[in-house]
């Protein structure tokens, strides 16, 4: 830092701190009158903080009953997907400095799944769809005695969809999923894509059969909300379009 030579007493590289207001949509199933309600908290945060840090501060210092999920807190486990200022984001990957702090940051549970408490939703319908596309390698024949070889080109074919962390940000950003919970949803299709386009996998026909359902890929209305919501930058709508095209080209 060049500043140290001119003003050695100044605290070098001090991170600015400021007050942020968080506005939560809360729900307590054990309350006398279980109705969702809004509640605001103001905490002091640092310029390097993420939304999750501010939420921790609320939970640890102001109100321990605020309920949300998080595990790794570094964008890998996919536990803390929530609706931040109207868009699905991971709280641990959203920096406060990227948000408009002149207004309260609005935090709501992801949409379309039953709310258990505050920001915690029941993920079971989401994982049920995930299991239905058989997210595992299907290969015939004997157990191989050496690894299944794959060229870099074949690996690159489905590279994008291997990045999914199953946070449900995409599925719960989908207007079709909000109104029709039977729809498989973007995440299940992304994970089917990961195997359908894997040259070592032999279950593509079965998976396409599953997704050719009334509630399958054809429900996709290409709103691109999922692509925008994905914290891993997966081009979700593109993957769904590729599955749609595979269904047509492989059928004939």
């Amino acid at each position: 830092m060049t500043a140290t030579t001119t003003s050695p007493a100044a605290s070098v590289g001090e991170v600015p701190s400021f007050d942020v207001t968080l506005r939560f949509r809360r729900f307590d199933p054990d309350a006398a009158n279980p109705e969702p309600f809004w509640q605001e908290f103001t905490v002091t945060a640092h310029g390097t903080d993420r939304v999750l840090d501010a939420m921790h501060k609320v939970k640890w210092e102001l109100d321990g009953t605020l309920t949300f999920r998080r595990s790794c807190a570094h964008g890998i486990c996919g536990s803390d997907a929530m609706r931040i200022n109207g868009r699905n984001r991971l709280a641990c990957k959203t920096l406060l400095k990227d948000l408009d702090l002149s207004k309260p940051i609005v935090i709501e549970p992801i949409k379309g799944l039953p709310v258990v408490k505050d920001l915690v939703v029941d993920m079971e319908p989401f994982f049920a769809s995930y299991r239905e596309v058989m997210p595992f390698l299907i290969a015939q024949g004997n157990t191989p005695s050496k690894e299944r070889r794959q060229s870099p080109e074949d690996r690159a074919r489905y590279d994008d969809t291997t990045k999914c962390i199953l946070c449900a940000a995409c599925t719960t950003s989908c207007p079709v999923f909000w109104t029709d919970g039977q729809y498989f949803g973007p995440a299940a299709i992304v994970n089917a894509h990961r195997f359908i386009f894997d040259s070592r996998d032999e279950g593509a026909a079965q998976r396409l059969e599953v997704l050719n359902d009334k509630e399958g890929v054809w429900r996709c209305r290409t709103t691109f909300n999922c692509t925008d919501a994905c914290p891993r930058g997966i081009e979700v709508t593109k993957a769904i379009a590729e599955v749609k095209r595979a269904m047509i080209t492989r059928a004939f």
């Binding site: 809004w38 605001e40 109207g86 949409k111 950003s173 207007p175 290409t222 692509t227 709508t237 593109k238």
Partner: protein, 126 residues
Amino acid sequence: MPEAPAGTLYRGREGMWSWVAHRVTGFLIFFFLLVHVLDTSLVRVSPEAYNAVIGTYKNPIMGLGEAGLVAAVVFHALNGVRIILVDFWAKGVRYQRVMLWVVVGVFVVLMAGFLPVHLSHVFGGE
């Protein structure tokens, strides 16, 4: 501070709002077609009844409705082509936003050609 417990609207981007517009225009066109089939089938009842019904359409409110109908059909048709390209053209997904602005541009050009002519018929008399 328990306030109105409504959730906020999801803040989707161009893709979501074009889908909303597509659905709204689709609904409008559907209801037009419903009425259209009914009034046209009146010809089979009697040509006089048909003429009487069609005659009631000749007023400024229906004229504006017709302008809205044309706008709905034009947008729905153009955006429909965009959706087909998004689904079945390999590069469609990448250019979806560009294609939406093309749709809006062509829509504006077509409506700019149509509206002055139509509105002068509606409000200018024969």
